[in-house]
């Protein structure tokens, strides 16, 4: 059999291919984005970037009704957005199988919160599978499709950053040939008016019981027991299984491939075979609570509910228990305190930098959003003052406006990227317009979804495959709503930005300011010859250093600025802030 080393995300994509999935609609979000990025390489699967996760799941539901196995992939907070259709999809069930992949981010490497998505499985009363390596990730997509169709339920497949972004060996199989089912015309099943939904709620409760019973009775082959020492028995799942295997090689294990519903009968049987029973899991005590509520004699672990587990964290949890655990020498651990850091920063030539420079200069409160531009919070720009969730910038700015009787609307702006605007920001803007808001909304239209790896979006003009696609013109869109004050600015023109922001925030009307430069990564054609510092003219005033560009460096001995020409993209922002004509373009 062919073997390949694949990331968890690439393996999930492979699993979709092999299990005959025909449609994938997703919205990007770390650490889930590469699943759909990989899906696009399979010609047999129709794939698309949707405008948000709710839309993506609804597309998958429609496709299931049309008879095609479907999948949608999102990060954990994406499931909050998609939770509305999810909760009722549980009632309707499916026609062709539906798999909802959700990737959690323990340790918040790239997220605004650390929520544990397993709660959604219980909330929606639907099954959730949890793979522990790439091979399982691939295989579990297939299982998810089978379970989905067998019980008529959407199935959640949960990943975490450590699975999505780790690589391990995968057995490569071939694609299952499935013929498309017929369109599912069934009013009592699909039209969730109260009279129908009441009946479907019975179905939901029965389905959950059936799945649990089948899990307990090994009809679903989803739990595996590894009996070793009788001293301790550990119930675990997902990536935590790997840490347990390494930290406690002698423990007896019950590995759960489905984490909701739980095979409580099986866990009870297992508990009888060991002296002490534990659950090892990451984030919330989800399995632990269920098992304790069921009445089993379980030893709760005194563990932090934050961050990732690891081999050493697991072995520390058990070091007080008389059991042969591994020890980890870390004689050399406290060295890096004073090391110069390499903090994330907006790229050299980033089209967001100029407008943040202007916001900072005008000392405006910036109601922020999520994207590369969130990095505007860092010094020296320090020009993002709130970030909650995607789309919130515009509605929060409206709240700031209304909550202060218009006072703070004169001293604040909303800042939002194009992808985020089209995700959920647009609803907020309609709300501000309808409710006679007077805030100023800056839309940073770099025509790409930068933060998550440069996926195209409706403002790009390209489809997921890079072929030409219809392009939303955000200016026309805002004007079409009826908003009077819509201005387009060049974010590298500091004067223009300052003047426009001053004028628009002063107005007691809603204003939209759109920046018009593309992301430096998405469109390399905008890169021009670099700038350099004319040493004789440089007074060492540091005005250019304050724009926070990584290509502008400071020579502390000579007390002069200089530019790293290999990094400079020639954007032209720094010469504008230099009062001494000390910055010039190479070759001019």
């Amino acid at each position: 059999m062919e073997k390949r080393v694949l990331s968890g995300n690439a393996a999930i994509a492979r699993g979709a291919y092999e299990s005959g999935i025909g449609l994938v609609s997703s919205y990007p979000g770390t650490p889930s984005s590469e699943i759909t990025d990989n899906i696009k390489m399979y010609d047999e699967i129709y794939s698309e970037w949707a405008t948000n996760e709710k839309v993506a799941l609804e597309v998958a539901i429609g496709s299931s009704i049309a008879g095609t196995r479907s999948m949608t992939c999102m990060k954990h907070v994406g499931l909050n957005v998609a939770s509305d259709p999810l909760m009722t999809l549980s009632y309707t069930g499916v026609n062709a199988g539906i798999v909802v992949v959700v990737a959690d981010d323990p340790n918040m490497f790239s997220s605004q919160n650390e929520q544990d998505s397993r709660h959604y499985a219980r909330f929606a009363k639907i099954p959730m599978l949890e793979p522990s390596d790439s091979n399982e990730a691939k295989h579990f997509v297939k299982l998810a499709v089978e379970i989905s169709e067998k019980y008529s339920t959407p199935v959640l497949l949960r990943s975490v950053t450590r699975l999505s972004h780790s690589m391990s060996v995968v057995d490569i199989g071939s694609r299952e040939n499935v013929s498309r089912k017929n369109l599912d015309v069934n009013i009592p099943k699909w039209v969730m008016v109260p009279a129908n939904a009441r009946k479907r709620h019975f179905f939901v409760e029965d389905r959950l019981k059936n799945i649990q019973t089948d899990y307990d009775n090994d009809i679903l082959n989803l739990a595996s027991e590894e009996l070793n020492s009788k001293k301790i028995g550990i119930v675990t799942s997902g990536i935590a299984y790997q840490y347990v295997k390494e930290a406690l090689p002698d423990a007896s294990l019950l590995k759960l491939n489905m984490v909701y519903p739980l095979p409580l009968g099986k866990i009870k049987e297992f508990s009888k075979k060991v002296e002490k029973l534990f659950v090892v899991e990451e984030l919330d005590p989800f399995i632990e609570n269920e098992v304790i509520a069921y009445g089993l004699n379980l030893q709760r672990l005194d563990r932090s509910l934050m961050g990732e587990l690891s081999v050493e964290r697991v072995s520390k949890l058990f070091k007080n228990i008389d059991f042969g655990v591994l020890r980890f020498p870390s004689e050399y651990d406290d060295i890096d305190k004073d090391l110069p850091q390499r903090p994330p920063n907006m790229c050299a030539g980033c089209s967001h930098r100029g407008i943040f420079y202007a916001i900072n200069r005008l000392k405006l409160f910036a109601s922020g959003d999520i994207g590369c531009y969130t990095l505007g919070l860092l010094p020296p720009l320090s020009a993002i003052h709130s970030t909650v969730c995607m789309g919130a910038s515009i509605s929060m700015a409206h709240g700031i406006d209304k909550g202060s009787n218009g006072e703070y609307a004169r001293k604040s702006v909303a800042v939002i990227g194009d992808s985020t605007f089209l995700h959920t920001g647009i609803n907020g803007l309609i709300n501000s317009f309808y409710n006679s808001g007077t805030s100023t909304v800056i839309i940073l239209d770099n025509r790409i979804t930068g933060m998550t790896g440069h996926q195209p979006n409706p403002a790009t003009g390209l489809s997921i495959n890079g072929t030409p696609a219809p392009q939303i013109n955000i200016e026309t869109l805002c004007k079409g709503m009826g908003i009077k004050n819509v201005k387009v600015v060049d974010p590298f023109n500091v004067e223009e930005c300052l003047d426009t922001l001053k004028a628009e925030t002063a107005k007691e009307e809603l204003s939209v300011v759109i920046t018009n430069r593309p992301c430096i990564f998405a469109d390399r054609s905008v890169i021009s010859s670099p700038y350099f510092v004319i040493r004789e003219n440089c007074t060492g005033c540091k005005a250019c250093v304050k724009v926070g560009c990584p290509a502008i460096l400071w020579d502390s001995e000579k007390r002069l600025a200089f530019i790293d020409e290999t990094m400079c993209t020639g954007c032209g922002l720094c010469p504008e802030v230099c009062k001494f004509d000390a910055i010039n373009k190479l070759g001019e």
């Binding site: 073997k3 390949r4 080393v5 770390t30 650490p31 490497f109 790239s110 390596d133 950053t161 450590r162 972004h165 780790s166 690589m167 391990s168 060996v169 990536i239 790997q242 840490y243 295997k245 390494e246 690891s310 081999v311 050493e312 591994l326 980890f328 020498p329 870390s330 004689e331 050399y332 651990d333 060295i335 890096d336 004073d338 090391l339 110069p340 850091q341 390499r342 903090p343 994330p344 920063n345 907006m346 790229c347 590369c372 990095l375 930068g450 933060m451 998550t452 790896g453 440069h454 990564f521 250093v545 990584p550 460096l553 400071w554 020579d555 502390s556 790293d564």
Partner: protein, 189 residues
């Protein structure tokens, strides 16, 4: 055999591709392999780290504290951040080429040259090479990570031919020849 290799560097240096290549090499040589890395934000220039674990059977994709057998530093100071992973048997492969962190460049912090000199002596063995210079000689900076892979190959027990096959498959076809040259140059220094 169990070999835990920590590859560290700066975003944009090609450590991710290099560790991908190492994984395929290990698989071709008949081992189980896992790798883990954190990449989220698209920005360049941050510290990056890849854990690669090779053995008969690998469980955790992350190298436990104190367990790295080899630390490959694609930049001169980056290895200083990961001392919790080393033990008194760990080998260091160090690119002496520097990439200034924004702090050092911005004048607030100095590049830690003396700390580097002091700390490399902790390693049981260390190999120093200026992979930037070697890469420049062969082709350009883009093959730096292949130079480092060449050096790594010289301390691992996997045949160079396997490495070269995988490299040829993984790098852009146009740069295949240059990458093989870079690999040999690293291997032979």
């Amino acid at each position: 055999m169990k070999t835990d290799i920590l590859m560290v560097g700066v975003g944009g240096q090609g450590t991710v591709l290099a560790s991908d290549i190492l994984c395929d090499v290990a698989l071709s040589a008949g081992y189980d392999v896992k790798k883990s890395e954190i990449h989220g934000m698209a920005q360049r220039g941050g510290s990056v780290i890849s854990h690669v674990r090779i053995g008969k059977k690998v469980f955790s994709p992350v190298i436990p504290v104190g367990s790295a057998d080899i630390l490959v530093s694609f930049e001169k100071m980056e290895f200083l951040r990961y001392f919790e992973y080393i033990n008194n048997e760990t080998i260091l492969l160090l690119n002496e080429g520097k990439i200034y962190p924004p702090g050092a460049a911005g004048g607030e912090e100095k590049y830690p040259d003396s700390l580097i000199e002091e700390k490399i002596t902790i390693f049981k063995k260390y190999y120093l090479l200026n992979a930037f210079d070697i890469a420049d000689k062969v082709f350009n900076r883009k093959v730096t990570s292949t130079v480092m892979l060449g050096k790594l190959a010289s301390v691992l027990e996997i045949k160079p031919d396997i490495w070269k096959d995988v490299i040829s498959e993984k790098v852009p076809p146009k740069t295949k020849g240059k990458n093989i040259e870079a690999f040999d140059a690293g291997y032979n220094t």
